[in-house]
């Protein structure tokens, strides 16, 4: 039988750091990457020489972006690898470091996510697999169709969709690392320029750049490096999957999310009622409603009313996307999944400032990516 993460040796997130997400600039990605790495090293209270392995997640930068940035910290000769997994790129880099440390091949590893806004080269365009909507139906269109279907099936309203954006912008306005740090009203969401019915621009995540870093350490590493256990968060599970054949009428994204999250619940013995904070992939408002249902926070079809009940607000049952999420904090691809880990670490430590969800002990991070793929982690405060 294969092992779950909890069957391996315990691993902890010991340090986190960000470079603010923002609209594209001329700054080299090296600056963004090193700012996030140095912030994470300082947060953990360790130096670069203690890092034994590094994985860089980037979707757009090209070959060997990780080493090209990290070498400026001192060429220590450690293994450096780069991963790309569409929107789940950062989550996948983090997962790889978690698995390396849990397996015992390293005591201290670093996951870096960094990206600039460059045109991604989609492999599917060269895959020899044309379809009827190539070029006409990017993700915004696909999710708009899912929104329409959810509205028709379950009576989800445009106001409820807009409220996801209002909530996440309210959260982002309290996050100094968010791309958008301004609250918006439901009316502003409705009145923003239309993209694809029922989405206006404020239903869709922005393009942007940024960097995020998480340092992952074993029990032995914590002791040897003198890292505070109190500020370290245990990684309880690491789940990744990809699509299975989905019957007509079912959402592929909901299916892979439900499968990944239920495996995460099985591996940890936890359920949706145990989670205090969730960072999930809402590149479009409808996704938050679909995924809180898929995660069991509420029944299928109840995501709209559940959002209206303020259960997913900071201070509610479970704060969803307290960072501002992809809609307000931003979605620079490589960093996004690691930025979720940064936010959950800050929430569980009680260091989230004006957007602190009081008493947070358990947090779940979720990304889906073109493919389709899904990656889920659950983090826990130990003290």
């Amino acid at each position: 039988m294969t092992a779950r993460l909890v069957d391996l040796r315990p691993v902890y997130v010991a340090g986190v750091g960000l470079h603010r997400y923002r609209k594209p600039t001329d700054t080299p990605y090296t600056d963004l990457a090193l700012a996030a790495v140095r912030a994470a090293l300082a947060d953990a209270g360790i130096t670069w020489t203690s890092v034994e392995t590094a994985v860089c997640g980037t979707a757009n930068l090209g070959l060997a972006a990780g080493w090209t940035a990290l070498r400026h910290l001192g060429a220590t000769g450690i293994p450096v690898m780069q991963v790309e997994n569409a929107s789940a790129t950062g989550s996948t880099a983090f997962r790889d470091v978690v698995l390396q440390v849990a397996s015992g091949v390293a005591d201290c590893g670093l996951a870096l996510g960094v990206d600039k806004v460059l045109r991604p080269r989609l492999a599917v365009l060269n895959a020899g697999t044309p379809d009827l909507v190539r070029g006409a139906a990017p993700p915004a269109v696909g999710f708009a169709l899912e929104a329409k279907r959810h509205m028709r099936r379950h009576g989800t309203t445009l106001d409820q969709l807009a409220l996801v954006s209002v909530k996440n912008h309210w959260n982002g306005a309290r996050n100094p690392n968010a791309q958008f740090q301004r609250e918006c009203t439901r009316e502003e969401v409705h009145q923003a320029p239309p993209i694809v019915d029922p989405f206006t621009t404020l239903h869709c995540c922005p393009l942007g750049e940024g960097a995020a870093t998480a340092i992952v350490v074993s029990e032995e590493g914590l002791q040897r490096l003198g890292i505070s256990r109190r500020r370290s968060l245990r990684v309880l599970c690491s789940v990744a999957n990809s699509e299975t054949l989905t019957p007509p009428g079912e959402s592929l994204h909901v299916r892979i999310t439900r499968d990944a999250v239920s495996r995460a619940y099985d591996e940890t013995g936890l359920g949706p009622g145990d989670l205090d904070v969730i960072e999930l992939h809402e590149a479009f408002t409808i996704e938050e409603i679909l995924y809180i249902e898929a995660m069991g926070l509420c029944a299928e079809g109840e995501g709209g009313p559940f959002t209206e009940s303020r259960a997913t607000w900071i201070g509610g049952d479970c704060a969803v996307n307290a960072s501002g999420g992809l809609l307000a904090m931003g979605h620079p691809f490589g960093p996004t999944g690691i930025g979720q880990i940064v936010e959950i670490a800050r929430q569980l430590r009680g260091e989230a400032g004006d957007r602190q969800h009081q008493g947070a002990r358990l947090g779940l991070a979720h990304m889906v990516g073109v493919g389709e793929v899904c990656v889920v982690h659950i983090l826990s405060r130990e003290h």
Binding site: L132, A136, R152
Partner: protein, 149 residues
């Protein structure tokens, strides 16, 4: 006049003027899975090699499960505004397709739609190309054999 050619010949037929094109699907000889687009590289259900799949032309007829109007141009080939729909084909396969209604007001969730061909520029030799779209069935064909709306 010689018949126009398909911009994407692997996806659909180009029948005589006015007739709806058929969709070029494939049926797996191992597990029976019906794939559209055809499984050119292997069966997504059981992994059987492509030579185990047989071509299966299916009717471009189905039900419009959802549709949306796109207000932003994502690709020069599809200038906004245009409509995209999720269609459950009568053959049991769910697809997404660009919609080409004569009047957008004719689009109705749950309504019947069928495939059609629209002009799609020319190839390098100046021959006319056509591409597959879907439109509401003219005359509002009855749904599921039930009464017409």
């Amino acid at each position: 006049m010689s018949a126009a050619r398909a911009r994407h010949p692997s996806l659909h037929t180009v029948p005589a003027e006015g007739k709806p094109p058929e969709l070029l699907a494939s049926r797996c000889g191992e597990c029976g899975h019906l794939a559209f687009p055809a499984a050119r590289f292997g069966c997504p259900s059981c992994g059987a090699a492509p030579e185990r799949s047989a071509p299966a032309a299916i009717a471009g007829r189905g039900t419009l499960e959802a549709f949306t109007i796109v207000h932003r141009t994502f690709s020069r080939a599809f200038p906004a505004p245009y409509a995209v729909g999720t269609i459950l084909l009568d053959a049991g396969v769910e697809i997404r397709a660009v919609l080409a209604p004569e009047d957008r007001a004719d689009l109705e969730t749950g309504g019947r739609v069928e495939s059609c061909l629209v002009p799609s520029g020319e190839d390098e030799d100046g021959n006319a190309l056509v591409d597959c779209r879907f439109r509401p069935v003219p005359g509002g064909e009855a749904r599921d054999g039930g009464g017409a709306a």
